[in-house]
Amino acid sequence: MMLRSLALALALCLTVLPNAQAQSLAAKVDYVGTSRHITVTGLMRRDVNGFINLVIELTNSDYDDQEGYYRLTWVDDAGFPVWEEEAWKPVLLHGSEKKTVLVAAPTNRATDFKIVFSGERNWADLPGSRP
Protein backbone atom coordinates (compact mmCIF):
# COMPACT_ATOMS: atom_id res chain seq x y z
CA MET A 1 0.00 0.00 0.00
CA MET A 2 2.77 2.33 1.04
CA LEU A 3 4.77 1.36 -2.02
CA ARG A 4 1.76 2.03 -4.24
CA SER A 5 1.31 5.49 -2.68
CA LEU A 6 4.98 6.20 -3.19
CA ALA A 7 4.81 5.12 -6.83
CA LEU A 8 1.72 7.28 -7.34
CA ALA A 9 3.43 10.28 -5.73
CA LEU A 10 6.48 9.79 -7.93
CA ALA A 11 4.30 9.49 -11.02
CA LEU A 12 2.55 12.73 -10.13
CA CYS A 13 5.88 14.48 -9.59
CA LEU A 14 7.12 13.42 -13.00
CA THR A 15 5.45 15.52 -15.65
CA VAL A 16 6.17 14.00 -19.05
CA LEU A 17 5.07 16.13 -21.95
CA PRO A 18 2.48 13.67 -23.34
CA ASN A 19 0.26 13.63 -26.50
CA ALA A 20 0.84 17.14 -27.66
CA GLN A 21 4.52 16.44 -27.05
CA ALA A 22 5.76 17.68 -30.42
CA GLN A 23 3.85 20.92 -30.09
CA SER A 24 4.90 21.44 -26.46
CA LEU A 25 8.48 20.62 -27.32
CA ALA A 26 8.53 23.14 -30.15
CA ALA A 27 7.26 25.79 -27.78
CA LYS A 28 10.05 25.06 -25.32
CA VAL A 29 13.00 25.03 -27.73
CA ASP A 30 14.51 27.94 -29.62
CA TYR A 31 16.99 26.88 -32.29
CA VAL A 32 19.74 29.28 -33.24
CA GLY A 33 19.75 28.60 -36.96
CA THR A 34 18.48 25.22 -38.19
CA SER A 35 20.48 22.42 -36.64
CA ARG A 36 21.48 20.02 -39.37
CA HIS A 37 22.11 16.86 -37.32
CA ILE A 38 21.26 17.29 -33.64
CA THR A 39 17.73 18.07 -32.50
CA VAL A 40 15.89 18.13 -29.20
CA THR A 41 13.59 15.11 -29.38
CA GLY A 42 12.29 14.77 -25.84
CA LEU A 43 11.74 16.64 -22.62
CA MET A 44 10.72 15.62 -19.12
CA ARG A 45 10.20 17.86 -16.14
CA ARG A 46 9.85 17.33 -12.43
CA ASP A 47 10.25 19.69 -9.51
CA VAL A 48 12.60 18.83 -6.64
CA ASN A 49 12.38 20.98 -3.50
CA GLY A 50 10.82 23.71 -5.63
CA PHE A 51 13.56 23.59 -8.27
CA ILE A 52 12.67 22.69 -11.86
CA ASN A 53 14.61 19.64 -13.04
CA LEU A 54 14.70 18.78 -16.73
CA VAL A 55 15.79 15.77 -18.71
CA ILE A 56 16.47 16.93 -22.26
CA GLU A 57 16.78 14.26 -24.93
CA LEU A 58 19.02 15.07 -27.87
CA THR A 59 19.27 12.96 -31.02
CA ASN A 60 22.03 12.89 -33.61
CA SER A 61 20.62 11.88 -37.01
CA ASP A 62 24.10 11.68 -38.54
CA TYR A 63 26.41 8.66 -38.59
CA ASP A 64 29.37 10.78 -37.48
CA ASP A 65 29.98 12.48 -34.14
CA GLN A 66 28.32 15.87 -33.95
CA GLU A 67 28.62 18.72 -31.51
CA GLY A 68 26.00 21.19 -30.33
CA TYR A 69 25.57 23.95 -27.79
CA TYR A 70 22.74 24.70 -25.41
CA ARG A 71 21.67 26.96 -22.61
CA LEU A 72 18.45 27.78 -20.84
CA THR A 73 16.54 30.86 -19.89
CA TRP A 74 14.58 30.80 -16.63
CA VAL A 75 11.54 32.96 -16.01
CA ASP A 76 8.85 33.48 -13.36
CA ASP A 77 5.06 33.33 -13.75
CA ALA A 78 5.04 36.77 -15.37
CA GLY A 79 7.66 35.70 -17.90
CA PHE A 80 10.28 37.90 -16.25
CA PRO A 81 13.83 36.47 -16.28
CA VAL A 82 14.89 35.35 -12.79
CA TRP A 83 18.51 34.58 -13.61
CA GLU A 84 21.33 36.10 -15.60
CA GLU A 85 22.15 34.88 -19.10
CA GLU A 86 23.58 31.35 -18.83
CA ALA A 87 26.88 30.26 -20.35
CA TRP A 88 26.61 28.12 -23.47
CA LYS A 89 27.41 24.48 -22.79
CA PRO A 90 28.94 22.18 -25.41
CA VAL A 91 27.53 18.69 -25.91
CA LEU A 92 28.96 15.87 -28.03
CA LEU A 93 26.83 13.14 -29.54
CA HIS A 94 28.33 10.12 -31.19
CA GLY A 95 26.97 8.90 -34.52
CA SER A 96 23.22 8.07 -34.30
CA GLU A 97 23.32 8.55 -30.52
CA LYS A 98 20.44 9.64 -28.31
CA LYS A 99 21.70 11.45 -25.24
CA THR A 100 19.92 12.85 -22.21
CA VAL A 101 21.15 15.99 -20.51
CA LEU A 102 20.10 16.70 -16.95
CA VAL A 103 19.52 20.33 -16.08
CA ALA A 104 18.41 22.00 -12.84
CA ALA A 105 17.05 25.50 -12.39
CA PRO A 106 19.35 27.94 -10.56
CA THR A 107 16.65 29.15 -8.21
CA ASN A 108 13.22 28.10 -7.00
CA ARG A 109 11.89 31.44 -8.27
CA ALA A 110 12.00 29.96 -11.78
CA THR A 111 8.61 28.57 -12.77
CA ASP A 112 9.18 28.20 -16.52
CA PHE A 113 12.05 27.84 -18.96
CA LYS A 114 13.16 27.88 -22.57
CA ILE A 115 15.90 25.76 -24.11
CA VAL A 116 18.16 27.51 -26.62
CA PHE A 117 20.02 25.11 -28.89
CA SER A 118 22.55 25.54 -31.66
CA GLY A 119 24.15 22.80 -33.70
CA GLU A 120 27.82 23.03 -34.62
CA ARG A 121 26.56 22.47 -38.15
CA ASN A 122 23.44 24.32 -39.17
CA TRP A 123 21.65 24.51 -42.49
CA ALA A 124 22.64 27.68 -44.33
CA ASP A 125 25.22 28.49 -41.69
CA LEU A 126 25.99 32.14 -41.37
CA PRO A 127 29.59 32.97 -40.50
CA GLY A 128 29.99 33.36 -36.75
CA SER A 129 26.46 32.17 -35.98
CA ARG A 130 27.67 29.54 -33.53
CA PRO A 131 28.05 30.45 -29.86
Binding site: Y69, E85, K89, P131
Partner: protein
Protein backbone atom coordinates in the same frame (compact mmCIF):
# COMPACT_ATOMS: atom_id res chain seq x y z
CA UNK B 1 25.77 87.42 -56.19
CA UNK B 2 27.09 84.39 -58.05
CA UNK B 3 30.12 84.26 -55.70
CA UNK B 4 27.82 84.32 -52.64
CA UNK B 5 25.78 81.41 -53.96
CA UNK B 6 28.94 79.43 -54.66
CA UNK B 7 30.27 80.15 -51.14
CA UNK B 8 26.96 79.16 -49.55
CA UNK B 9 26.94 75.97 -51.57
CA UNK B 10 30.51 75.17 -50.48
CA UNK B 11 29.71 75.79 -46.80
CA UNK B 12 26.57 73.63 -46.94
CA UNK B 13 28.45 70.89 -48.78
CA UNK B 14 31.23 70.89 -46.18
CA UNK B 15 28.73 70.79 -43.33
CA UNK B 16 26.96 67.85 -44.95
CA UNK B 17 30.26 66.04 -45.42
CA UNK B 18 31.23 66.58 -41.77
CA UNK B 19 27.82 65.36 -40.60
CA UNK B 20 28.18 62.23 -42.71
CA UNK B 21 31.62 61.50 -41.25
CA UNK B 22 30.61 62.14 -37.63
CA UNK B 23 30.72 59.04 -35.38
CA UNK B 24 27.39 58.73 -33.62
CA UNK B 25 28.50 55.66 -31.64
CA UNK B 26 29.69 56.22 -28.04
CA UNK B 27 33.09 54.62 -28.68
CA UNK B 28 36.72 55.53 -29.02
CA UNK B 29 37.58 53.01 -31.64
CA UNK B 30 40.85 51.95 -33.21
CA UNK B 31 39.03 49.32 -35.27
CA UNK B 32 41.18 46.51 -33.86
CA UNK B 33 39.39 45.81 -30.57
CA UNK B 34 35.97 44.22 -30.19
CA UNK B 35 33.84 42.96 -27.34
CA UNK B 36 32.86 39.31 -27.50
CA UNK B 37 30.24 37.09 -25.89
CA UNK B 38 31.39 36.36 -22.32
CA UNK B 39 29.10 33.30 -22.28
CA UNK B 40 30.36 31.77 -25.53
CA UNK B 41 32.02 28.35 -25.65
CA UNK B 42 35.78 28.90 -25.67
CA UNK B 43 37.75 26.32 -27.66
CA UNK B 44 41.04 28.09 -28.35
CA UNK B 45 43.21 25.55 -26.52
CA UNK B 46 42.47 22.55 -24.34
CA UNK B 47 43.74 24.12 -21.14
CA UNK B 48 41.20 24.92 -18.42
CA UNK B 49 39.09 27.80 -19.71
CA UNK B 50 36.13 30.06 -19.05
CA UNK B 51 33.56 27.54 -20.33
CA UNK B 52 34.92 24.89 -17.94
CA UNK B 53 34.77 27.28 -15.01
CA UNK B 54 31.24 28.40 -15.86
CA UNK B 55 30.00 24.84 -16.39
CA UNK B 56 31.52 23.53 -13.16
CA UNK B 57 30.26 26.43 -11.02
CA UNK B 58 26.78 26.19 -12.52
CA UNK B 59 26.45 22.42 -12.12
CA UNK B 60 27.79 22.31 -8.57
CA UNK B 61 25.90 25.34 -7.27
CA UNK B 62 22.58 24.11 -8.65
CA UNK B 63 22.98 20.61 -7.29
CA UNK B 64 23.87 21.94 -3.83
CA UNK B 65 21.19 24.67 -3.82
CA UNK B 66 18.53 22.07 -4.57
CA UNK B 67 19.67 19.99 -1.60
CA UNK B 68 19.94 23.00 0.71
CA UNK B 69 16.39 24.03 -0.20
CA UNK B 70 15.11 20.95 1.66
CA UNK B 71 16.63 22.12 4.97
CA UNK B 72 14.13 23.66 7.42
CA UNK B 73 16.23 26.83 7.74
CA UNK B 74 18.89 28.30 5.45
CA UNK B 75 22.11 26.53 6.47
CA UNK B 76 25.05 28.72 7.52
CA UNK B 77 28.12 27.48 5.67
CA UNK B 78 31.73 28.41 5.11
CA UNK B 79 33.60 27.70 1.91
CA UNK B 80 37.27 26.87 1.42
CA UNK B 81 39.28 27.53 -1.73
CA UNK B 82 39.06 24.74 -4.28
CA UNK B 83 42.24 22.64 -4.29
CA UNK B 84 44.07 22.42 -7.58
CA UNK B 85 45.47 18.90 -8.07
CA UNK B 86 46.06 19.31 -11.79
CA UNK B 87 49.41 19.94 -13.43
CA UNK B 88 48.36 23.33 -14.81
CA UNK B 89 47.81 26.72 -13.21
CA UNK B 90 44.13 27.32 -12.44
CA UNK B 91 42.79 30.28 -10.49
CA UNK B 92 40.74 28.13 -8.12
CA UNK B 93 39.67 31.16 -6.06
CA UNK B 94 37.68 32.22 -9.10
CA UNK B 95 35.85 28.85 -9.15
CA UNK B 96 35.13 29.19 -5.41
CA UNK B 97 33.82 32.73 -5.89
CA UNK B 98 31.53 31.71 -8.76
CA UNK B 99 30.06 28.80 -6.77
CA UNK B 100 29.54 31.03 -3.72
CA UNK B 101 27.93 33.77 -5.82
CA UNK B 102 25.47 31.38 -7.43
CA UNK B 103 24.58 29.73 -4.12
CA UNK B 104 23.92 33.08 -2.47
CA UNK B 105 21.85 34.25 -5.42
CA UNK B 106 19.81 31.04 -5.26
CA UNK B 107 18.66 32.17 -1.81
CA UNK B 108 19.14 28.77 -0.21
CA UNK B 109 22.24 29.36 1.94
CA UNK B 110 23.98 31.88 4.17
CA UNK B 111 27.75 32.19 4.21
CA UNK B 112 29.98 32.82 7.22
CA UNK B 113 33.31 34.56 6.62
CA UNK B 114 35.68 32.02 5.12
CA UNK B 115 39.34 31.52 5.93
CA UNK B 116 40.48 33.63 2.97
CA UNK B 117 38.51 36.67 4.18
CA UNK B 118 38.98 36.16 7.93
CA UNK B 119 41.99 38.47 8.24
CA UNK B 120 40.10 41.37 6.66
CA UNK B 121 37.08 40.63 8.89
CA UNK B 122 39.09 40.58 12.15
CA UNK B 123 41.09 43.65 11.07
CA UNK B 124 37.85 45.59 10.60
CA UNK B 125 36.46 44.40 13.95
CA UNK B 126 39.70 45.39 15.69
CA UNK B 127 39.76 48.79 13.95
CA UNK B 128 36.22 49.61 15.02
CA UNK B 129 36.80 48.48 18.61
CA UNK B 130 40.28 49.82 19.30
CA UNK B 131 40.80 52.94 17.20
CA UNK B 132 38.43 55.17 19.18
CA UNK B 133 37.19 56.69 15.90
CA UNK B 134 33.63 55.39 15.94
CA UNK B 135 30.42 56.19 17.84
CA UNK B 136 29.87 53.56 20.52
CA UNK B 137 26.44 52.39 19.38
CA UNK B 138 27.57 51.88 15.78
CA UNK B 139 30.55 49.70 16.65
CA UNK B 140 30.29 46.03 15.66
CA UNK B 141 30.81 44.07 18.86
CA UNK B 142 33.47 41.43 19.22
CA UNK B 143 32.24 37.94 19.98
CA UNK B 144 29.05 37.98 17.92
CA UNK B 145 30.26 36.30 14.75
CA UNK B 146 28.22 33.24 13.83
CA UNK B 147 29.94 29.89 13.45
CA UNK B 148 29.13 27.93 10.31
CA UNK B 149 27.37 24.60 10.67
CA UNK B 150 28.67 23.25 7.38
CA UNK B 151 31.94 23.47 5.46
CA UNK B 152 32.10 23.33 1.66
CA UNK B 153 35.32 22.30 -0.03
CA UNK B 154 36.27 21.08 -3.45
CA UNK B 155 39.12 19.83 -5.58
CA UNK B 156 39.92 19.62 -9.24
CA UNK B 157 42.07 16.85 -10.68
CA UNK B 158 43.13 16.00 -14.20
CA UNK B 159 44.55 13.17 -16.26
CA UNK B 160 46.54 14.23 -19.30
CA UNK B 161 47.43 11.83 -22.10
CA UNK B 162 49.19 12.69 -25.32
CA UNK B 163 50.74 11.03 -28.31
CA UNK B 164 52.30 12.53 -31.42
CA UNK B 165 48.91 13.59 -32.81
CA UNK B 166 46.49 14.09 -29.96
CA UNK B 167 46.40 15.64 -26.50
CA UNK B 168 43.59 14.51 -24.24
CA UNK B 169 42.75 16.17 -20.92
CA UNK B 170 40.15 14.81 -18.53
CA UNK B 171 39.10 17.00 -15.60
CA UNK B 172 37.16 15.89 -12.57
CA UNK B 173 35.75 18.43 -10.14
CA UNK B 174 34.44 17.24 -6.78
CA UNK B 175 32.59 19.38 -4.25
CA UNK B 176 31.37 18.26 -0.84
CA UNK B 177 29.62 19.71 2.16
CA UNK B 178 30.58 18.46 5.63
CA UNK B 179 28.73 18.89 8.92
CA UNK B 180 31.44 20.57 11.00
CA UNK B 181 30.26 19.33 14.40
CA UNK B 182 29.44 15.79 13.39
CA UNK B 183 32.20 15.43 10.81
CA UNK B 184 29.79 13.76 8.42
CA UNK B 185 29.61 14.44 4.69
CA UNK B 186 26.10 15.72 4.00
CA UNK B 187 26.32 16.21 0.23
CA UNK B 188 28.81 15.52 -2.56
CA UNK B 189 28.76 15.85 -6.33
CA UNK B 190 31.14 15.55 -9.28
CA UNK B 191 31.47 17.04 -12.74
CA UNK B 192 33.67 15.59 -15.47
CA UNK B 193 34.94 17.40 -18.56
CA UNK B 194 36.96 15.92 -21.44
CA UNK B 195 38.86 18.09 -23.91
CA UNK B 196 40.77 16.71 -26.85
CA UNK B 197 42.93 18.59 -29.31
CA UNK B 198 45.05 17.73 -32.32
CA UNK B 199 48.72 18.62 -31.89
Amino acid sequence: MTVSIVRLGAVLGLAGLLAACANSRPTIDSGTVSYGDAKAVEKLTNEFGSTDLQTIAETMARSLAQTAASYPTKPLVTIADVKNRTSEYIDTRSITDSIQTQLLKSGTMRFATDIADMQAQTDELARQNTSGLYKGRTIAKVGNMEGAKYRIEGAITSIVKRNSDVKDVWYKFTLKMTNIEAGTIEWIDEKEIRKTSLR
